[in-house]
Symmetry: C2
Subunit: 211 residues, 2 copies
């Protein structure tokens, strides 16, 4: 229903035609620079190299454009995360992998980092209605990783997996936010990820011997 029928193969036009994706990419760029509300649909159209009206052939509204953007990108992220988690056996290893992976991914996509950290919260509707779906899915995944490791005795069990999951999400978000808003020095996110993982893992170890 959102997708254009079929075809759409312009033989004279080199760019692959996937206009929907072109629009999404343009939206990321524009939203990142100006924020959702300050961004004009016409700007996104221009950035994508399409007419204003074309956007409405692929998305119901400006709002739905933002929603789709998250739906799409977060779905991708969840896929990657699930795959990686499965590939790592140890609990602590998983935590480290997940933390480093997420910041590593954003390192290469500053615009996306900004959209996720900043714009996720722009549309209250988006946050309160939509986000409580995918976002919860994300938090649940993180909490599960923690809980599993706790049951295996690899991580201390005296803290709530859900709280830890939220804290990890928040820490990642906060680091990405300040990075995206600041000078975004190269390698900054990756380095931060390693350090965050270091602190988290030591903090989550089963209580050593003495409290």
């Amino acid at each position: 229903m959102t997708e254009p029928r079929f075809s759409a193969r312009r033989r004279d036009d080199a760019r692959a035609g996937d206009k929907r994706e072109r629009i999404l990419r343009a939206a990321v760029k524009v939203f990142a620079r100006k924020g959702f509300y300050a961004s004009r649909v016409s700007e996104i159209a221009k950035a994508a190299g399409v007419a204003d009206g074309t956007i409405y052939l692929y998305f119901k509204s400006k709002d739905e454009l933002l929603t789709s953007l998250f739906e799409d990108r977060i779905t991708r992220l969840l896929e990657v995360l699930r795959r990686e988690i499965d590939a790592v056996p140890s609990g602590p290893g998983r935590v480290r992998r997940v933390v480093e992976l997420q910041l590593g991914l954003l390192e290469g996509e500053r615009d996306l980092a900004e959209v996720i950290t900043v714009n996720l919260r722009q549309s209250t509707r988006l946050l309160k209605q939509y986000a409580t779906k995918r976002f919860t899915e994300y938090l649940d995944l993180m909490a599960l990783v923690i809980a599993d490791a706790q049951h295996a005795g690899e991580l201390r069990a005296d803290v709530s997996p859900r709280i830890v999951a939220r804290a990890i999400f928040g820490a990642l978000d906060g680091i990405a936010l300040t990075w995206a808003l600041g000078n975004a020095e190269p390698g900054g996110l990756t380095r931060a990820g390693t350090q965050l993982a270091d602190v988290l893992l030591q903090g989550l170890l089963p209580r050593p011997t003495a409290a």
Copy 2:
């Protein structure tokens, strides 16, 4: 310049007259419920019990209303934090105090929690221009607490104080966010604060003996 001259003492009207504060309080409530952009100035006026135009006697624009809100509330927070930090001698004690204090404060003001966590990011202008002032001040304060403790040998020195500060901010923000958006169970924030502090402190301890 923003304040009305003087007088303004209505003897027949019980409410203390501080209209500016009344408007700010109303704004917190409305922004929290609907988000900055979805909130109508007329709604804030109604909630504050003043006319639409009155708001413009105290604030230049809707934008400036939001800005003033942060300026005001964050200034208060910084004051409280500084005082508390000075009152606690040990580094780890300070970290715990700061973490627990912030979540404790928000526990009593759900609306404010929501405004800070959600709306702080609504106005990109606010974030990029204004926030880089007070917000930086906040991060610097946190980083200083960490750095001091590191120099005193109370916390591990192999992580960047700034990264830790950002991570702590993010973790607090993330926890407050999910709390404010969720069921906001009573005591939830306080409990989360304790656990977060537990994990952080263990994680930040000087490396035990074996890495």
